[in-house]
């Protein structure tokens, strides 16, 4: 049996079509309604409530907590102040990504790390000789993401915190209707949004408080299908979909460096302390890279024509696909797309792709393989820079 999250008693009755999926050993909703349209719309025009409890969460504390994390990840943790959150990947010694997540500095000597996969062993290995305690709090801590333009208005109804003053990638320890929570202004949708961290024993109270206060704002429980559309629009990578952990890759070609994943910005040019992969990433910064991670926009005219040829109206991927699709330029394969969808907001067919760096400039004309009526075809597409969607309200 898959595990259920602390919110399960509330979410389960809402999953009308029993559209569940697994996430890190848990059972979570793909969508609550049979189709995710309204859930997605809430992300971009209201307030969508996601149960993100399956994330792996580690509490790292002690005099050497900062040192451990700084050693492990690419970003400079010594610069992270209390109340700040960092998004960061972490790499093996060859500078290939193992996982990515966020580091929240809760106190001078206490951090919360989130990860897509179990990292306890890796943390412990990196902690050898350090004065630090590592606790896996995954089951003890429940998490919700409240995302969308009205998310702040909803929280303001129930929390005394000054949310207007809470900047992007900052956190505040506060209460929601007397329930102790940490609110961080983070998320996986590229929109205005917050993540709420709560003791699992209070999870249901938190859900009820938000549902109640959010009703007037159209708060909408939303599942992974809606999340997937939003994160592709936001150009955010997903482990096991857009890249593979260096710890699980069977061959070198399955590994990626931060530079190859569009995460070059998470590798500081100067970071005083040593960290995993520093040597490799330093030399990679200097040398021309082989791969780039970019956006693709599939041409509507071309996509429609391929369908009309078979007498069909275009069949749009309204739920994101996550299978690799070859990408060609002038008849030769130059890479592959790893996830894609029809963007309901942008009214464009978009995809995330790994392309040979020499063929990855924005505006480059390529083709992407699509299957129309059992036949493989080439749809015209254009390379775009990421993200596809980046509203001001995300940071404002």
């Amino acid at each position: 049996m898959l595990k259920t999250t602390p919110f399960h008693p509330r979410t389960a009755p809402l999953v009308r079509a029993q559209t569940w999926r697994r996430w890190a050993g848990y059972q979570v909703a793909s969508s609550y309604e049979p189709h995710p349209d309204r859930e997605y719309a809430a992300v971009r025009n209201g307030a969508a409530l996601f149960d993100v409890s399956p994330l792996h969460k580690y509490m790292i504390s002690g005099p050497d907590a900062e040192r451990l994390l700084d050693r492990m990840v690419t970003r400079d943790v010594t610069k992270c102040r209390v109340g700040q959150v960092l998004y960061t990947p972490w790499c093996d010694a060859s500078g290939k990504i193992i996982d990515d997540g966020t580091i929240s500095r809760l106190e001078e000597m206490r951090f919360r790390l989130t990860a897509a996969e179990p990292n306890l062993r890796w943390l412990t290995m990196n902690a050898v000789g350090l004065d630090v305690t590592i606790e896996d709090v995954s089951e003890r801590t429940a998490a919700l993401a409240l995302q969308g333009p009205l998310s702040r208005a909803v929280l303001e109804q129930v929390s005394p915190a000054d949310l207007a003053a809470l900047r992007y990638f900052r956190l505040v320890e506060t209460t929601i209707r007397k329930i102790p929570v940490t609110i961080s202004r983070t998320g996986y949708t590229g929109d205005l949004g917050y993540e709420l961290w709560v003791d699992a024993t209070r999870a249901l109270d938190l859900w009820d408080a938000l549902s109640d206060a959010g009703a007037a704002y159209g708060i909408t429980p939303a599942g992974i299908w809606a999340l997937d559309l939003a994160r592709i629009e936001a150009g955010l990578v997903m482990l096991d979909v857009d890249y593979h952990s260096a710890h699980h890759a069977l061959i070198e070609a399955q590994k990626s460096s931060p530079f190859e994943l569009g995460l070059g910005w998470t590798v500081p040019a100067t970071k005083p302390g040593p960290y995993n992969g520093r040597q490799a990433l330093r030399s990679e910064r200097e040398s021309p890279r082989a791969w780039a991670f970019v956006g693709l926009e599939v041409s509507w005219e071309s996509f429609e024509a391929l369908h009309l040829d078979r007498g069909l109206p275009p069949h749009l991927p309204v739920i994101a696909w996550r299978v690799s699709q070859p990408v060609y330029r002038n008849g030769a394969q130059v890479g592959y797309a790893s996830s894609g969808c029809w963007s309901p907001l942008l009214k464009r067919y978009i995809a995330l792709a790994h392309l040979e760096a020499s063929n990855s400039d924005p505006g480059t004309a390529v083709t992407m393989e699509v299957t129309v009526e059992h036949r493989r075809c080439q749809a015209r597409a254009v390379v775009r820079s990421l993200p596809f969607f980046d509203p001001e309200r995300k940071r404002a």
Binding site: E33, P34, D37, R38, P314
Partner: protein, 526 residues
């Protein structure tokens, strides 16, 4: 000769005028849009007529807006954001309801409660209508060729059309021909038995026309409402964030981005014509602005009979425009609500309140509503298409409050004794009283009520006789006959004077196709 600052002046900032302006500006033309009202959009406007409550005052849902226009003008970047409107609930006289849900299985199961036979017919009917929508789609994007002309472009157009129809094959061609000629009730009779289902579906066939569900020709209007596509799905309807005015604003944003100049509070009194050619316009405030080309986004009556003098036009054209049928038949009631109303048949705030509520319990009900109108009265119990936009877009009303949009059929423009304040309020009462039969607590929730009769629609938007499509969608007023034979290609008999409103092919609704095709004709693109 003086050189003017503008290559073209657009009269009317309705969505079609704005689309035409955007395409012309995109092609490098210097264009000026002149809108009479303080807001842009014409029949597609959002106004805060009661503090804190935003109303899509006239048109309220979107589906027909051409996807190529959305792409060409990059409208999402300018604010186009279409939110899902997924379901329709028809309350029945016996206290039950008929739901039409987005999920095919839920939908089939619901219809099965009423008629297992219809539940089975539904998917085949859906397939047929999808084929029909695909069959007419190329026509929507086509400049109507003149079948009586021997000009190469017309012959080529007719040939293209002929080939297209031939490519449909006999079954689809016959179905299309039936749709063009039958009544929606008869057409639906071939498929369905459950009367409230037929009534609800046939309602799309009477919207905006002076026809009943049993009048021949109404099936075409039904098809017109099936031609929309959202994200590749034909017949899907949605709700624009911020109301339909935000669509107009998005188009205006694109036009400005391409360099168009747009003025509001700038009503045009007259189009200036010298020796059979336009030279500019005279504004209501007396200013004159010169331009070698003037394009009217108003309806044919205003464009050809009011903005220019009759003597500038051939007599037969004047005659034909005078006979062009408007016969407005729709009204609108907008309500600000203190809270959600309960549906008698489905109490509580379920997802059904995020969809449409159709007051169409039976074909007889609709036909009787039409009977009232035939004899010059508003329907005592009208057909109503009700949506609660604030349930879809919380930004339309203050938290916890709601706006309700009620589209009403029939309210004849030519009411016995004429429209006045008393008659308007009596019409509003008929609407609210009828709706309250299905929503018992509705009246307690009303904070504010706006009632719009066809006379009000005409007065505010300029739509003649309040016809929502700038002229009826009747077979004799479509394609190469819209608005008048021989002048269906966006030109007028006056040199330099063009037309681009919904009164031209392919017609009404928030579609933008008339504006787009007019711009293409002007730019000499086929």
């Amino acid at each position: 000769m003086t050189t003017s600052r503008y290559d073209a002046i657009l009269i009317g900032g309705g969505h079609n005028g704005l689309v035409a302006a955007a395409y012309l500006a995109r092609a490098g033309r210097k264009v000026l849009v002149l809108e009479k009202r303080p807001v842009l959009g014409g029949a597609a406007v959002t106004e805060e007529i009661f503090p804190g409550f935003k109303f899509s005052v006239f048109s309220y849902v979107v589906s027909l807006l051409r996807p190529e226009i959305i792409r060409d003008l990059d409208l999402p970047r300018h604010g186009l954001q279409i939110l899902p409107l997924e379901s329709t609930v028809t309350p029945l006289e016996n206290g039950d309801y008929l739901g039409s849900w987005a999920d095919p299985d839920e939908n089939r199961r619901e219809l099965c409660r009423h008629s297992p036979r219809d539940a089975e017919a539904m998917s085949q009917f859906g397939r047929l209508m999808q084929h029909m929508a695909m069959a007419v789609k190329p026509i929507l994007g086509m400049m109507p060729p003149d079948p009586t002309s021997l000009a190469p472009s017309d012959l080529a157009g007719m040939l293209k059309l002929g080939n297209h129809f031939r490519s449909l094959g006999p079954d689809r061609f016959h179905a299309l021909f039936k749709l063009m000629t039958m009544s929606s009730a008869d057409y639906l009779d071939e498929w369905y038995e459950f009367d409230p289902l037929k009534a609800t579906k046939s309602a799309s066939g009477i919207i905006g026309t002076f026809l009943g569900p049993r009048s021949p020709g109404s099936a075409y209007v039904l098809l017109h409402h099936y031609m929309g596509e959202i994200d590749g799905a034909f017949r899907a309807w949605g709700f624009q964030k911020g109301g339909t005015g935000a669509i107009s604003e998005a188009i205006a944003g694109a036009a400005r981005g391409h360099g168009a100049e747009i003025r509001t509070d700038a009503g045009v009194a007259q189009v200036v014509v010298r020796s059979g050619r336009v030279t500019g316009v005279a504004l209501e405030n007396g200013d004159e602005i010169e331009a070698p080309m003037v394009i009217s986004g108003l309806d044919p009556r205003r464009t050809l009979l009011q903005l220019v003098e009759e003597k500038e036009l051939p007599g037969d054209v004047v005659d034909a425009v005078k006979r062009f049928k408007f016969r407005g038949s729709s009204g609108k009631v907008n309500l600000a609500l203190d809270g959600l109303p309960d549906l008698h048949c489905l109490p509580g705030a379920g997802p059904h309140l995020k969809g449409a509520i159709s007051i169409s319990p039976s074909l007889d009900y609709l036909e009787r509503a039409y009977d009232d109108a035939k004899y010059g009265e508003f329907s005592r119990h009208p057909y109503m298409d009700v949506v609660i936009p604030s349930m879809i877009d919380p930004g339309m009303a203050p938290p916890g409050k709601h706006v309700m949009s009620i589209f009403v059929q029939y309210a004849p423009y030519n009411l016995n004794g004429g429209w006045n304040n008393d008659r308007r309020e009596a019409f509003g009462d008929a609407v609210v009283n009828t709706l309250a039969r299905y929503m018992p607590n509705l009246k307690d929730r009303i904070l504010y009520r706006q009632v719009l009769t066809p006379a009000d629609i005409e007065r505010i938007t300029g739509l003649s006789e309040g016809n929502i499509f700038q002229g009826e969608l009747a077979l004799h007023q479509l394609f190469f006959l819209r608005p008048v034979p021989a002048w269906a290609k966006y030109r007028t008999p006056i040199r330099g004077y063009w037309q681009c409103g919904a009164g031209t092919h392919p017609g009404g609704g928030i579609m933008g196709a008339s504006g787009h095709l007019a711009a293409r004709a002007i730019l000499g693109e086929r």
